[in-house]
């Protein structure tokens, strides 16, 4: 089954799972905690607004896509990226929380890299933003290491038998960014146009970058 068919279905199911704690209970519980922490002078509510806005509007997979596109067109940058990803990514202005120690992984016609965090939800925030629910979910965390090809199949990616699959379990503060293969037929595209092709899923390693339509 192709992943794009799961859409609304999964949303319904997740809400069903959360049934024992209706969203309103959690809303009230968080509101109560926030108001307590603000009243005690432990939290500045304006700082929360700034932080939420940053992750909703500034820090997301478009950042990583710019890194990948630059690596595709600029051989010197590509070399720096695989040599010291933290510094190369910082050149584009992406630094900080949960991207302090970056490593870039090169997908080729023969090697496919896939990133997971089996123990929690570690994810390279400055380049990909906050992780999607499926990445943080038990099914992905449990099976990505024991059955990566099955997981990829479930997410709509079939890999030939002669491709080597390398799974990276994010057990430390090192964060991994997959640099997917540049699709054929993109020789004439600008860096910006290339970046527009790069998806979050390709930078986790659960998809390839599709050629332009």
């Amino acid at each position: 089954m192709g992943k794009h068919e799961h859409g609304t279905h999964s949303l319904d199911r997740r809400h069903h799972h959360a049934g024992q704690d209706a969203p309103s209970d959690l809303t009230l519980r968080v509101k109560a905690l926030e108001s307590l922490l603000v009243e005690k002078g432990l939290v500045d509510p304006a700082a929360l607004d700034v932080l939420i806005d940053a992750y909703e509007h500034k820090i997301g997979p478009r950042n990583g896509a710019r890194v990948v596109a630059k690596a595709w067109i600029d051989p010197a940058y590509r070399k720096r990226l695989f040599n010291d990803a933290t510094a190369a990514i910082a050149e584009l202005g992406y630094t900080g929380r949960q991207g302090e120690h970056m490593v870039a992984l090169e997908n080729t016609a023969k090697v496919h890299n896939l990133v997971v965090c089996t123990l929690c939800s570690c994810y390279p925030l400055p380049v990909l933003g906050l992780p999607p629910v499926w990445y943080k979910s038990s099914p992905y965390r449990s099976r990505a290491v024991i059955d990566p090809r099955g997981v990829l199949h479930e997410l709509g990616l079939e890999l030939p038998d002669d491709v080597e699959v390398r799974v990276w379990d994010s057990t430390s503060e090192v964060r991994y960014l997959v640099v997917p293969e540049r699709p054929a037929g993109t020789e004439q595209l600008s860096e910006e146009q290339l970046a527009a092709l790069v998806t979050r899923d390709a930078m986790i390693g659960v998809a390839k970058v599709a050629p332009p339509a």
């Binding site: 969203p23 905690l33 307590l36 906050l130 080597e164 057990t171």
Partner: protein, 219 residues
């Protein structure tokens, strides 16, 4: 601790539920719970490892039932109480104890973005000698600590090869319990799929984990 959070290699946890065009947060309370957890960390009363340990200490059945940010909220509440920033009574009532002092938050709207860009590096510039080198065969120790560890069960006792030395990193297994940073070399260690999962696994495939000196022994 051998709890359900250490789920690498388990079967039976259901299909992967992919949501197309997923929003960053699915509800306002998720965004607030996330942001509260981040800014409360700035008090320096705990560290990232203690934060993870608080969430993995949620009893297994609850851990599996809760949504992601409910775990974060539960972890934050328990750390804030345990580290003395709030009391159980205040948490239950939602009101500060009468006469408690009002403090000044360590981060505000002006400083939060800068902190975010700076991050919290965990490498330490210390002359710690590495116990292993790239290319060396190692065995992950067969450890079953009741506290925090970043050595997953599925790799314990298994043979791997050191692929790269990441340098000297804080050791989460002690740091999570405020028993010191115990900085030591961290390595990317590659295990073949057949070593981890048996002969049925595909021979060419592998899993790389980041493991510390204290997780490894020569093989």
């Amino acid at each position: 601790m051998n709890s359900v959070h250490d789920m690498g290699g388990m079967h039976g946890l259901g299909p992967i539920e992919y949501e197309k065009d997923e929003p960053v947060f699915h509800a306002q309370w998720e965004a607030r719970a996330f942001a509260l957890t981040v800014v409360m960390g700035a008090w320096g009363k705990w560290n990232i490892d203690a934060g993870r340990h608080a969430r993995e200490s949620i009893p297994g059945p609850e851990y599996l039932r809760m949504s992601y940010y409910e775990k974060w909220l539960t972890g934050l509440e328990s750390l804030a109480v345990r580290q003395g920033l709030i009391t159980e009574t205040e948490l239950a009532s939602g009101r500060p104890a009468p006469g408690s002092e009002k403090r000044t938050p360590p981060v505000n709207a002006d400083t939060v973005a800068r902190n975010l860009r700076k991050g919290v590096p965990v490498t330490r510039d210390l002359p710690v000698t590495p116990r292993f080198k790239a290319g060396q065969r190692v065995r992950a120790k067969n450890l079953h600590p009741t506290g925090h560890t970043r050595l997953p069960r599925y790799a314990r006792g298994k043979l791997g090869v050191i692929e790269r030395d990441h340098g000297v990193h804080v050791f989460p297994d002690s740091n999570a319990h405020f028993r010191g940073e115990n900085p030591q070399h961290l390595y990317s260690v590659r295990f073949t799929a057949t070593e981890l999962w048996g002969d049925e696994a595909k021979g060419s495939d592998s899993v790389a984990l980041d493991l510390w000196d204290d997780h490894l022994e020569p093989a």
